[in-house]
Structures are given as C-alpha cells and as structure tokens.
C-alpha cells in the first residue's frame, strides 16, 4: 500500500471520528495541532484505524508515535 494512500485513509478516519470535515493531516501533524485529539479520543482513533486497515497495534506502539508520519510508517510496516 502506498504511503500516500494510507495518509488519505487515516485522514478520512480522523474526519469521521472527530467530526471535523476541514481537517487536513500531514506527516508532521501532532496531537497538539488538532482540536479534540486528547488521550481518550486517541484510543478511539486507534481502534478505528485498526478496523479500517484490518491490523492490530501493540499496546506500546499506541503510545509511541510523535506525529502522523510515524503513525503512517507503523501502519505501512504492517501492510
């Protein structure tokens, strides 16, 4: 799967869960840049991404990403 494709799909999941149509993610986006992306919502996003890509993250991975780019890399490593 193309990295770009993954980012697009992750963006769509964020838009759905955060209910924010105008959200545009880039590799450097962090939780601080996105309204409502708190630690609780994070887990909800993670579960939705697991479902969307049919993958499973380990408990450590979930807390390891510093930005969207690292999340996308992690997804790419599993596809």
């Amino acid at each position: 799967m193309e990295r770009n494709e993954i980012l697009k799909q992750v963006n769509a999941i964020f838009v759905d869960i955060l209910d924010n149509e105008s959200l545009v993610l880039t590799d450097s986006t962090t939780a601080n840049d996105v309204e409502d992306w708190d630690s609780l919502t994070h887990i909800h996003l993670v579960v939705a991404i697991e479902k969307g890509f049919a993958i499973r993250f380990s408990s450590q991975e979930i807390q390891s990403w510093n930005n969207i780019g690292e999340l996308v890399d992690c997804i790419a490593s599993k596809k």
Binding site: D16, I17, I43, V46, V47, I62
Partner: protein
Amino acid sequence: MKTFSQLKKNLKQDFTGLKTIRVALLGDTATQFLVQALRATGYEAGYDLQIWEADFNQIERQVFDPSSELFEFNPELVILFQSSHKLLAKYNKSKPEHYQMLADNRLEEINSIVSAINGQLNAKIIYYNYSEINDSVFGNYANKLELSFPFQLYKLNYELVRLATQVHNFYICDLSSIQNQLGKSVSFQTSVYINTEMVLSIDVLPFVAKQTVDIIAAMNGQSKKCVILDLDNTVWGGVIGDDGLENIQIGSLGIGKAFTEFQYWIKKLKNRGIILAVCSKNTESVAKEPFEKHPDMVLRLDDIAVFMANWENKADNIRQIQSILNIGFDSMVFLDDNPFERNIVRENIPGITVPELPADPADYLEYLYTLNLFETISYSNEDTERTKLYQVEAQRSVLQQKFTNEDEFLESLNMLSLVEPFNKFNTPRVAQLSQRSNQFNLRTIRYTESDIALISNSDNFYTFAFTLEDKFGDNGLICVIVLKAKDKETAFIETWLMSCRVLKRGMEQFTLNTIANFAEEKGFKQLEGEYIPTAKNEMVKAHYANLGFENSGDKWILNLSNFKNNKCYINKK
C-alpha cells in the same frame, strides 16, 4: 446496532424537549466513553440523560460521605460499575487464605453501598454484574474449588441475582450475558485497557449502553406489550394455502425445528403476559387449520388474542388490532419474514417495532435474542392472564353490537368492583400499572413497590385499588387512585390511572362516587384534580370537566357538598 463513532454524533444533536433524567455513574475503572455512549443512546430512545460522572474509583467516598457531590447532585438513577478486572486485582492482592472470602466480602460491600444510597436518595440503582474472566490457575478444576477466582466470580453473580430479588430498587444490567453474546474478544480489548484503564471495548459500548437504556426506558413506562405474527414462513415453514396441512414445516425434523423453537419462544412471551396477535394474508379458515389440527403446533388458537387473516393490507389490519387492544403502536412488535410487508408496516405505522428478521429461519431466534425487545422492571401473576382478558374483550364487543341501548348493555354485564387500599397482595400490580399506564393517566406518576410501601404507611395519603369483573370474566386490578390530604378542606387526587381495557363501562363514574363519598366522610370539603399533559394522555384531557369538576387555574375542583352519585352499573363487591 450503531457503532460508537456513529452514536457519538448524537451528542451534537438538540436534546431540548426530551425527557430529562438525572443519572449518576460511579465506576472503579475509567467510564468516560460509557458516559458518552449512554447519553447518545438515551437520545435515540427519547431521553436527555443528564449524567454526573464520579471521579475515577470514588464509589465508597461518594456514597459514604453524606455531603458528597453524589448526594448534592440528587440523581433519580444511580449506575454502579464495579469491574471484573478490579475484582481480579483484589483477589490477586489478597492472601491465599482469604481467596474464598472474595465474593462474600464484595457482596457485603455492595450491600452497604446500596444501604447508604437508599438512606439518602429516592433513586433506582442499576448494577452491572461481573463479566467472566477465567484466570486459568486451576483449569476446569476451578469449578470444584471454592477458593478459585472463577468460583468466586460465579458465586458473586449468583448472589447479586438474589440481592436483586430482595431489594426493590436494585436492578442488574447483565454485562456477563452481553459478553457471552458477543464473545470476550469483542467485549474486551487489551490495548484499550492498558492505555486508558477502560474495561469495555469500543465495540461493546453501544451494546452495554443499549441494555442500560432499555432498563431506563422500562422504568419510565416504555415496554413492549404485544407481538403481531405473520404465519407462512414465520410461524411455520411453507405456505399453508399452497402446501396444505401435511406439508408445512414444523416439528423436530430439519428446518421444522427452527419454527418449533421459535414458537416455544413466542409461547413463553405469551405466558409472561405479552399479548399475541396474528396478521396474515390468508383465508381465515385455512390459516386457523394448523392451530386446530397440526400435532406439532406449539401455539394454539387460545394463545392468540386477536386473529386477523384476510387479504387486506397489513397496515390496515394492524390498525384494527390496535383498536381492539387499545395499546400504543410503540408497544407493538411485528414479526414477518417478508421484507416487502415489513416495509409497508414500518412506513405506515409510526412507532411500531419491525425487526429485520434474517433470511434464514434458523437464525430468527439468535437474532431476536440480541434485540432485547422485552425489557421490563416488574412481573406479576396477572400478566399471565392477559391474553384471556383480551379474548374476553373481543366477546364483549360482539355482545355490545346486539344492544342498541348502551345502558341495557352495561346492565347486562353484571359488573362488580372490589375496592381496597394498597396492601402487600396488590402492591406489585399497582406498581406495574403505574409504570405501564400511559393513556388513561392524569398525572403519570410512576411508583415502585418501595414508593407504594411509603405511601401506604403515611397518614397523609389515602389509597384505592379497584378491580372489575363481569359475567364474562375478571379484569383484575384495573384502576388506581392516590388521594393526598392537601389541607383540612381539600383532598388532592395525586394519581388517577386506569387500564384502557375497561373504558366505556362507567368505571370513571364508579371511581369518582367511591372517592367522593370517602372524602366527604373524612370531612373534606372538596376534591382537587390535575391534568398533566404528556405525549400519550390526550384521551383524559377533558376527564375532570366530563365528571363535573370546575376549572380553577391549572387545577380542577369538585365541591363535595353538592355532589350526587353519578349513575353507573357497577356494584361494590
């Protein structure tokens, strides 16, 4: 079932106009998502759940401190969620010689929590039972060993059920059963647990919230009262008109087994007090044949309160069933294998529940189990008689057609009513009637059995429970009055409710005669009534005006010095 993400969108909806209920949620794990799921699911059921969430792991602090935020919030409902994971953690930390005390200790703790709540609040309590965790320390031998964790957990769940039978306002939400239905791998997700301290997975949240809101809805008088059944390929396999009596599929062979088991389920619902009606596109005599003659039929004609088999549109037939039974469409469930008929009924009958039965009849029951359609918060022996009552009602309407004069008809019924104050025998039925009656209910006050005990013991209240029987049969307890002494002169009618199945018999007049005479004897000068409108009680809008009360602001007054008994054909038993 909507997913948690879909549900969450409800939180942005406008909740104004919905019935508000103040709910306190106390848990020993993180419950933020559960709060969101509950509020969002409440919205779908028409409730604005105003949820106060205790800080994490604060159950004891909140309930044992009389000046806590919990008591300040003064909820109508308290939800308690003590998780299996925390129970296991407690077990793990205890000394081995204390293992076998786990369930007893926890039960004692729950008992004191419940007493503390009941000491300060007049609230109902919902308690989540314990979803099963097998720590696999003793293998299957755990079932033979009292000190094992699984043994203690099973014991605790059993003791909770017993506690619920003893404490009127204590209700169990069966989390264990939800986990059994969906599987532990769906209900519990380790990464969510590790990272957030939440023991419910994102996927299980809508199910837990749904069952909780089902209980809340039942507490507020919303429940299903009637199942309307299609016949061909719903109650039996095949088409009776084409295949004939010998060839329909039912019994112990092949797919027949699925229909037989489905019928047993329906029969249990009937025995529980759910009214059964048939709505089938068939010639009536042909449709009735299996009920009369087929040896493998579980359902018989005397199980069915109203039998509609003809070639008319099903929506029209269901409207007619509704007019005979006199219950709301929102308390009806329609089961039909045919998607076309389901859509017609769904589109034309607002409020009716029409489950999307799976294409394979073998799946009907498992699917219906998951819907939890028949939640209730009470059960009385009278429930089991309900079908007969409605069948008798059908006979009465045949007799009525023969009389042109209504007085003659009413007189011919030889009606008798037993009038008693609330007592321990009629309390369950009084509570149930107060929870179920929506239409003929002037102020729609719901009473639990413990509320009724309080009222019965108070000097300020006078209570009346009325039965009605006639030559066709006994309707049982059908009318409830609660009078409250407002001052020396005025008796206020706090509650006047009646079952709609005894409308147009003069029961209203008989009731008024009874309470007016009683109030006069007690030295009151006037009766005061009030009508509080709801979405469903329009039918009694003019109730007090019709009975000769005079309007006074938002109240209705009947002066007892001028009162003369109204004509009616009901005698005191």
